[in-house]
């Protein structure tokens, strides 16, 4: 993968200092995220760290209370799912949202059917669906006219993802797409995620699985207790460090050292981000060998 993060055009999505309260619960207390076209950005963090909340804010389910959202360099305000769709943001939710009683084509076009006057344009939809699946190199589906109920978990994820990229979307967000999948199917879906990025889309991947993250992500964003602990290039970090960031919110300790409990307040965060990136460039080689089995 070629990377020129600093000279490249503005990132597809950038969140700066995003905050979100649910009453007294401070779910997000300052999150930063950069997702670039052509890259997979992993979003990791412990249970309750705020990953799903952050995604929902970006998807327009509920907006951020404070902070800036920049889409392709422009400040935007996403206040509904329709706004997000209009910008080219598509979300693949963890619980998939497919209709079992409809076939693949119908699911891919649900809510945005192609029409000729009153009538559904079935053959146009079928042709387009086949093109998209082929462009994603999906070849494991027997027929695109089969009901979604007859698909395996991985194939269903594939359909959900294909549905998301059908609408020349620019940013695809996947919430734990491999959580329920076996080894082979996880591999399939990860390859698909990689191909999306290689096709020029910005991809945000939420995952708890370090293997997945290190296999496909170009950049890793760690949330800790509603704050961004760090966003690091995958090649500049190691599993150990990311796990440390996830569990303690800071890294940079010599391997094996016990990380001190951080006090989770904002000023410290900036330095953590900086130090994390600075101190770990030596970990590059160890993280890359294990990718793409």
């Amino acid at each position: 993968m070629t990377q020129a993060p600093d000279l490249a055009p503005p990132p597809t999505l950038e969140v700066r200092g995003g905050r979100k309260n649910f009453g007294a619960v401070h779910a997000l207390r300052g999150v930063d995220l950069v997702a670039r076209a052509g890259e997979v950005t992993a979003l990791v963090g412990d249970n309750g760290a705020g990953k799903s909340t952050m995604i929902k804010c970006v998807a327009g389910i509920y907006p951020f209370d404070a902070g800036d959202v920049l889409f392709e360099g422009q400040t935007t305000h996403i206040s509904s799912p329709a706004d997000a769709n209009e910008l080219g943001i598509e979300v693949v939710y963890q619980d998939l949202a497919l209709c079992d009683n409809l076939d693949i084509v119908h699911n891919m076009f649900l809510g945005r059917e192609l029409k000729k006057g009153f009538r559904l344009d079935e053959s146009a939809m079928e042709t387009r669906a086949a093109e998209v699946l082929a462009s994603l190199s999906v070849r494991t589906v027997r027929s695109i006219r089969q009901h979604v109920a007859s698909l395996s978990g991985g194939q269903r994820q594939t359909v959900a993802i294909a549905r998301a990229v059908l609408w020349n979307s620019k940013l695809v967000i996947l919430d734990e797409p491999t959580a329920a999948l076996g080894v082979a199917q996880t591999e399939q879906v990860l390859q698909l995620v990689r191909r999306l990025a290689d096709a020029g889309l910005a991809v945000v991947l939420v995952s708890h699985n370090m293997n997945d993250v290190f296999e496909v992500a170009d950049s890793i964003n760690v949330l800790y207790l509603g704050q961004t602990a760090a966003q690091i290039r995958t090649k500049d970090t190691s599993r150990m460090e990311v796990i440390e960031l996830i569990t303690s919110g800071s890294a940079g300790m010599p391997a094996g050292a016990v990380a001190p409990r951080p006090s989770p307040d904002a000023p410290e965060r900036a330095t953590r981000v900086a130090s994390a990136t600075a101190t770990t460039s030596d970990a590059t080689t160890t993280t890359n060998g294990s990718t793409s089995a």
Binding site: A97, D100, N101, L110, R119, S123, A130, R139, T140, R142
Partner: protein, 425 residues
Amino acid sequence: MSTSTVPEAPTAPSLLAGSVEQPTFGEAIGNYVRKVRGGDMGSLPAILALAVLILAFVVMKPETFPSTLNIANLFQQGAVVVTIAMGLVFVLLLGEIDLSAGFASGVCGAILATGLTAYGWPWYLALAAALATGIVIGLLIGTLVARVGIPSFVTTLAAFLAFQGVVLLIIGAGGNISITDPVIVALQNKNVPPLLGWAMAIVAVLAYAGSSLRTWQLRRRRGLVAAPLGMVVVKIVALSLVVIGMVAILNQERSLNPLRTSIIGVPIVVPLIVTLALILGFVLTRTAFGRHIYAVGGNAEATRRAGINVKAVKMACFTICSFMAAIAGILAASRATSVDPNAGGSNVLLYAVGAAVIGGTSLFGGKGRIVDALIGGAVIAVIDNGMALLGYSAGIKYVVTGAVLAAAAAVDAISRRRARATGRG
């Protein structure tokens, strides 16, 4: 990290990208058998049951059951139930139920009758009032179910009771409003002139043949999987034989005393129901709205996230159901040439639900077709008619029809379980 190391997915079983293999005739039949085995039986059980029933009644009552008079009679008897059943398919597809459809038809019939007799309205005004009543009823039920959120079972059970009362209030206990308007009476008692009947049959057959051949050709040209041509032709021939055979039978003189009154031609209600079925079938299978109905029945949350207004879809389905009930109420009034306080009561609703379910529409939502209502309605009409000819009492008829409905619901439940196990929707 380099993408070139990402292995290409296996390329073997692809029917996707352009190079589609078209199935042969044998393969198409094999696919169908596999589909049925997998639990997706569609109308097959109902068609088999229909064949067995017809055969049995023909054997037991060879002189009356297959007579042209009785065949015409069957259509007129089945019309009311089939019409309600077609509307119910929309509600059943959502995974909901409308128990009030029977008495909704009664209310609309009562409105029609009072409009004609008490107010002396012309037939078209009374007809419009009855249909409008159906729409209002549907919007009311739809609001209670979709917006207020009362389960449809409870909402429509309440409406069932209330509408029964409304019919009683309009007609008056023990009352009976007779209908003499020639247009309304003609709907269920007059026939299409034989030549017009033939013309309609030929147009219908040609239209079906033309459209299915065109679809086939279009799909082939676009490189999409299409049923083999042989299969398309077999379907066209089968449909033509049924349509032409029926018209030939119904165009024979069937009056018991042809010198006094001549009864000849296809009953007017037949093209009426065929037209309704074509329109509703088109809505269900060829429009985005129809697709959304199936989607709501399959996964309402997914449909909502896809940006579809689920509440509006539900409202529309309940409205269509009650509108069809209104048409059924008009047909019932026409057939009886009167409306009494029990209009739309007794077995009407259960026969209609039975027709849809026997035909293959699932009570669990997401699966069903308009043609199910027609086939299931035929089964019910044949049982009702045949057993009456055999001289069985109403009691036995109800027991048998109830048993058939239970059997159909069991087939539905079992095939659903089987479909789950074999991974078909």
